[in-house]
Symmetry: C2
C-alpha cells in the first residue's frame, strides 16, 4: 500500500491528508505551525511539527521512503520551491506541488515537481462558468470542447420522456443522471420523465450543450 506525506496543512493540504486517511491510507502530515499539526493529530497516522526546508529533519522523518509527497505550502513560494527541490534530490518518487501562479508552477516543474495543481484557479474558472449560465449548477471541462454540466432543464422539457426529447440523436447530449430532491437516478432509461425541479447531469460537446443553457 502506498505511503503518503503531506507537507503544509492549509485548507488544501488538510483536505488531501484527511481524504487519504478516510480512504484507509497511512499519511504523515507535516507543518511548521504547531496548531495546524494539532488539528491533524487525530486524523493523520503521524502529525509532525517541522520546518520542511530543513534537510536534516526530512531525513529523520525518512521522507525519501514515501511513495508520494504533496507539497501544499501556499504563500511562501520560496519554501514551496525549496521543499520540492529537496524531496526530488532525496529521491522521492512522486512529488505533487500546489502552485499559486503560472510562474510559480514553472519553477516547481523546473525543480522536479512531477505534477502541479492549481486548486483556486481551477475552481475559480468552474464557478465563473456556472455563474454565467444560470441554470448550470456545475460545469466541468472534460476535454477541449467536451463538458459535463449539471443543469435545471428548460421548461420545454417538462413532463417529457428522454425518448420523446431525442436528446442523444437530436442534440448529441447524454443524460447521465436525474437528480430529484435527495434522490439520484443514474443512467436513466428512455422512458424516464423529466420534471420541473429536476437537476440533469449531462455530457456532450460544448456547442450542443449551449442549446440547454438559459440566461
Amino acid at each position: 500500500k502506498k505511503q503518503f506525506a503531506v507537507i503544509g496543512l492549509g485548507r488544501f493540504g488538510t483536505s488531501v491528508a484527511t481524504t487519504l486517511a478516510q480512504l484507509g491510507y497511512d499519511v504523515l502530515a507535516v507543518d511548521s505551525d504547531e496548531a495546524r499539526v494539532e488539528e491533524l493529530a487525530e486524523v493523520a497516522t503521524h502529525a509532525v511539527q517541522a520546518d520542511a526546508t530543513d534537510i536534516e529533519v526530512l531525513k529523520q522523518l525518512g521522507i525519501r521512503n514515501f511513495d508520494v509527497v504533496v507539497v501544499s505550502i501556499g504563500h511562501n513560494m520560496e519554501a514551496s520551491i525549496l521543499v520540492t527541490l529537496i524531496l526530488k534530490e532525496m529521491g522521492v518518487k512522486q512529488v505533487i506541488a500546489k502552485a499559486g501562479s503560472e510562474l510559480h508552477s514553472r519553477v516547481l516543474k523546473r525543480v522536479g515537481a512531477d505534477r502541479v495543481v492549481f486548486p483556486e484557479r481551477d475552481m475559480g474558472a468552474r464557478v465563473a462558468h456556472n455563474l454565467v449560465a444560470s441554470n448550470i449548477i456545475d460545469y466541468i471541462e472534460l476535454a477541449p470542447n467536451y463538458s459535463l454540466l449539471e443543469i435545471t432543464p428548460p421548461c420545454e422539457m417538462f413532463d417529457k420522456t428522454i425518448r420523446e426529447l431525442n436528446l442523444r440523436t437530436d442534440y448529441g447530449i447524454n443524460v447521465l443522471a436525474i437528480k430529484r430532491g435527495n434522490e439520484i437516478k443514474v443512467s436513466p432509461g428512455a422512458d424516464d420523465v423529466i420534471k420541473k425541479g429536476d437537476i440533469l447531469v449531462v455530457v456532450g460537446e460544448n456547442g450542443d450543450l449551449k442549446q440547454l443553457e438559459e440566461e
Copy 2:
C-alpha cells in the same frame, strides 16, 4: 447580460474575475490591496481599491445593482462574513461566498450567502482520490456515491469492445468518452474498441468504479 462583481482578488477571486471577463461579461473587481487591484486593471471592466466592509463605499459603487457578487475574501473570516451580510441586506440578488471551513460556511449561509464554495477542500479530495488509484487521472464527485473518473483502462480491457466488456450491464459503468492521443470520441458505440494508451471517461456508482482502479 448579467453584471458581476468580485470582492477579494486572491487566487480564486482573480480566476473568477478573469474567466468572466474572458467569457465576455462586465466585471467589477474590488480589493483593499492596491497591488491586487492593479493586477486586474487590464482584465476587469473596473478595478477598484476599497475596504468592502465599508457600506458607504459599496453604495457609491452601486453594488446593489449587480446581479451576482462573489465574495472571495479568504483568511479574514470576519470581513468575509460582514461583506456577505451587507450585500444581502442591500438587496444583491445572488451572493456566492468562498469558505475556508465548515464553520465559516455555516455562518455565511446564516448571513444570507446564496451559495458557498470550497475550492481548496474540493480540489484536495480530488487530488487525494487520484493519488490513491494510480490509473485515475481525474476524479469528480457528482453526487454522494456517484462519480466521474478519467482512467487508464486496466490491461484486461485492451483490444476488447465496449459490448464485449459489458461495462454497463456487468459493471454499472457508463463510458462517456474515449480519449486517444489528441482525439476524443464522445458517447462511444458498443463496437468501439478500448486500446492500451487510451483514457476512458467513465461515470457510475463509487462501488462499481472501484473495480476499475489499479494500485
